[in-house]
Symmetry: C2
Subunit: 212 residues, 2 copies
């Protein structure tokens, strides 16, 4: 696995993006795609697509393109999305509830197995349209172990996010997806991804401004 | 503006990302940053940072780094985030409510000026912790014009997303931020950005898998 560990993080991010149009292609029964077309769908340049995919071996056939089924299978294997990952949701407010009901997670192998909240009014209630009972934060350590939780999604108010991250780390969770707008401090061996919707708005604003 | 229109979209996306650590630096009263350090904070390579910023002119001083205040001001100007943008929220469910209360939008100059929903049970109610009254979809055309709405955020159920996008386009909105998991069809002159949280999870899964 030595080779893979040198792959730049930005390539990994783009490779995850590449899988989205490939899925749509399969749904519409298109089985071959050129690097030019894939690049266009993903808004990157074709040389970048070819380079990113070359980190993982030879997928394309020169002059023909990529086999969509093979490429998608390979991408899922590379990313680890060919297996199921077990998630905990931290914070059962509006954002948390929207996430847990979002169809894409399960479709991509991300299964919520527990939900936690610090509010006494919520603890013990079943989250609607799921079978999950909202747990107190004090149960985190026990449930991370017994349910083999691998990733924690923080959707608490910003004021509770750091404390929640600390408790996730104590409980043995190694990866955090952070929806709160604060910058988390965590030990170096903990993986954190921040979700920032306003970056997408900045992109729109730029292109809108260009047209005014 | 001819030069700017050739800037690759991926550079624009990264430039929006660069502004986030720069803000944190200012808050902690650090006024100079090297391209190496900025690259590290943003998880890209230093040559990429220098190239992206070079599209917009000369910011750095060789051997010293970038002036954080100047760079941030320039980035905001480039992106159009030095002005206010007026948003409409489409769909007042959990996701919509989480978005409208998210502090980052207003902090970055994105102001929600109207909210729409198709549910009779919601129309006419004031959205809690805002002063916005939920409007019926039939008011879209009128309010887009009178409130000068520039961007529509789609947070409806997936089954309503395409119809909602069509109505936004009819009403004259030129840019859409789509939180629904469906691929929208829209005229070529309409800008669409899709928000896909599962890409972030794919990144985490990849690096977790590498460590197992």
């Amino acid at each position: 696995m030595k080779k893979e560990s040198k792959i730049p993080e930005a390539s990994i991010e783009r490779i995850a993006l590449y899988s989205r149009p490939l899925e749509k292609l399969l749904e519409s029964r298109s089985f071959v795609i050129s690097s030019e077309k894939l690049a266009q769908l993903c808004k990157v340049n074709p040389a970048q697509v070819r380079k990113d995919l070359s980190y993982f071996g030879e997928f394309g056939v020169r002059g023909i393109g990529y086999d969509v089924t093979d490429l998608l299978r390979a991408i899922r294997k590379i990313l680890g999305s060919d297996r199921e990952w077990r998630l905990a949701l931290l914070g059962a407010g509006n954002m948390g509830q929207a996430l847990i009901r979002h169809e894409e997670f399960l479709k991509r192998g991300y299964r919520f197995v527990a939900v936690f909240d610090s509010s006494h009014g919520k603890i013990g209630k079943t989250l609607s349209s799921t079978s999950l009972v909202i747990q107190p934060m004090s149960m985190l350590g026990l449930l991370v172990e017994s349910l083999e939780i691998e990733v924690g999604l923080i959707a608490t108010p910003p004021s509770e996010a750091q404390h929640t991250a600390d408790r996730l780390v104590e409980a043995g969770v190694k990866a955090i997806l952070n929806f709160s707008p604060i910058q988390l401090r965590q030990p170096d061996n903990i993986l954190v991804e921040n979700v920032d919707f306003t970056v997408n708005l900045d992109n729109l604003a730029y292109f809108l401004k260009e047209r005014l």
